[in-house]
């Protein structure tokens, strides 16, 4: 352990650009234990409703879900990252709780957000404010820990710029749906990787369209998918929570 302490002492500032990359990659890596693997973003319900009946429907499904992520959730990531403080976070959390009218996605957001907050407050120990905010919110009792504001808060504190935070959020959403698609046997691992690379072009266009908006402009753009995702609790046999 002595060598580790020596090393961290030599790199006095974790804010240097190369070290920031390590934190960024850790946040985007699916190995970070935030439980994203338990959610299919409505894909499982869409398959059982025959909305996604063939593997070729998968690409459209992902694009429509990403567009909805952009229109509905990016404003919360953006605002949280721009002001990573307790008051802003609590306010955004309350607004998002009223905005996610779909109970299935609301519960999924809380479950992933709580996990991310718990993990980040331990991992990014150089930001004691993260642990303090987490404790303050837990004792408050009113805070849900929704995913998008937590993600923005953590990225903002770690030092990622606004556009990168929002791109990262789109990235992890795409990553998780594609992972769910392979587990639902809709596409194989190689096909999934090819698809992910193809969709990244569209994802970047969607980011450009929907970035940097205020939460009062948050809206949903795929009501059909929202309706279908809401059916998740009616599925008799299911792999995923949402």
């Amino acid at each position: 352990m002595e060598e580790v302490k020596d090393v961290t002492r030599r790199f006095s500032s974790r804010e240097s650009a190369p070290l920031l990359q390590w934190s960024k990659w850790q946040l985007l890596d699916s190995i970070l234990p935030t439980g994203g693997f338990a959610h299919s973003f409505g894909l499982e319900a869409a398959m059982q409703a025959q909305i996604v009946a063939q593997p070729q429907h998968l690409q459209s499904y992902i694009i429509h879900t990403l567009e909805n992520t952009g229109s509905l959730l990016l404003p919360f990531v953006y605002s949280a990252a721009a002001s990573p403080d307790l008051q802003t976070f609590q306010h955004l959390d309350m607004i998002l709780d009223a905005t996610l009218t779909n109970e299935v996605s609301r519960k999924a957001s809380v479950s992933q957000g709580s996990a991310l907050m718990r993990v980040s407050s331990s991992v990014f120990s150089e930001f004691p404010s993260l642990k303090m905010m987490r404790n303050a919110c837990l004792s408050n009792g009113d805070v849900c820990f929704h995913h998008a504001p937590v993600f923005g808060l953590v990225c903002g504190l770690v030092g990622l710029d606004g556009e990168t935070c929002q791109r990262a959020y789109m990235y992890i959403t795409m990553r998780d749906i594609i992972s769910a698609a392979t587990r639902l046997n809709l596409v194989g691992p190689l096909g999934a990787a090819v698809l992910q690379h193809q969709i990244s072009l569209v994802a970047e266009e969607l980011l450009t369209k929907w970035k940097n908006r205020g939460v009062e402009e948050a809206c949903q753009t795929s009501p059909l998918l929202d309706t279908v995702q809401g059916c998740h609790s009616y599925l008799f046999s299911r792999l995923f929570c949402s």
């Binding site: 593997p55 229109s71 009218t101 809709l186 194989g188 059909l224 299911r238």
Partner: protein, 291 residues
Amino acid sequence: METGSLVVSKVCSKSTVTRCFSKYPLKFMVPTKAAPSHIDAVWIYTLTYGGGIVSGDCISFDVTVEDGCTAVLTTQASTKVYKSVALKCSEQIMEASVGNDALLVVIPDPVTCFSTARYSQKQVFRVISGSSLLVVDWITSGRHESGEKWDFTLYKSTNHIYVETRPLFLDTVLLENGNVTSIAERMQDYQVIAMVILLGPKLKHIQNQIQEDVKKMMSEQLHAPSMGGRTKAINGDGYTKPPLIASCNSFGPKGIGSVVRIAATTTESVYRFLHSQLAGMEPIIGLCPYR
């Protein structure tokens, strides 16, 4: 610039419209005998001159339902939104407040936007814990017979509910034909989308009934693939997309409210669905909605 204002208060213990102001292009009609006399509910029809909303129209009105009253807001026919001229957007805004032990029921016919129309509507409801609210908000894809399916440029519908200044339900649906995806692609073969919001003590039994009915109806239509998806077409079992998909979920602390979302291939099927699910409203408002 207010186009209209409505107040419903108790007069001799009966819900009565005590203020009814409207100016062009909005008109309110309050028939004297809508509900049977033993039911305390007042029905108000909102109309627009010419039967539709014209490019650039801006209609805004407020509704106050005082303590203990029951008011129903409805339309005579579907709201048609005509094509946009010079890129102008038409707008309709309603602000409503519902008092204690009061009920506001908003049961319009659907909005139908014609090709190239641009339309935005916003409904803000301010309630307290003893208020009850039923709101139906729906849209069809256009004039299907003329081949107009999701052919309008922009439709935006916002529904906000605040309980004593605290936001409870903030929903905005935006359908815009954009450069990345078109509305028709996102809707697939579905031609109608609808939302029903139920909140408050007077509607609790209806909320519970709808939750059960929708669950039963949808459980029969959702089928897990019998084999993995890749080996053959997933629906090799012969299942097809349900002509009507609905999901009912609760919202708010302790699940005080319910929201039902519907997507369907025909307008008639949604009328039938609403008629059957809201049949329990008849003893409360005097008539069954969506006959």
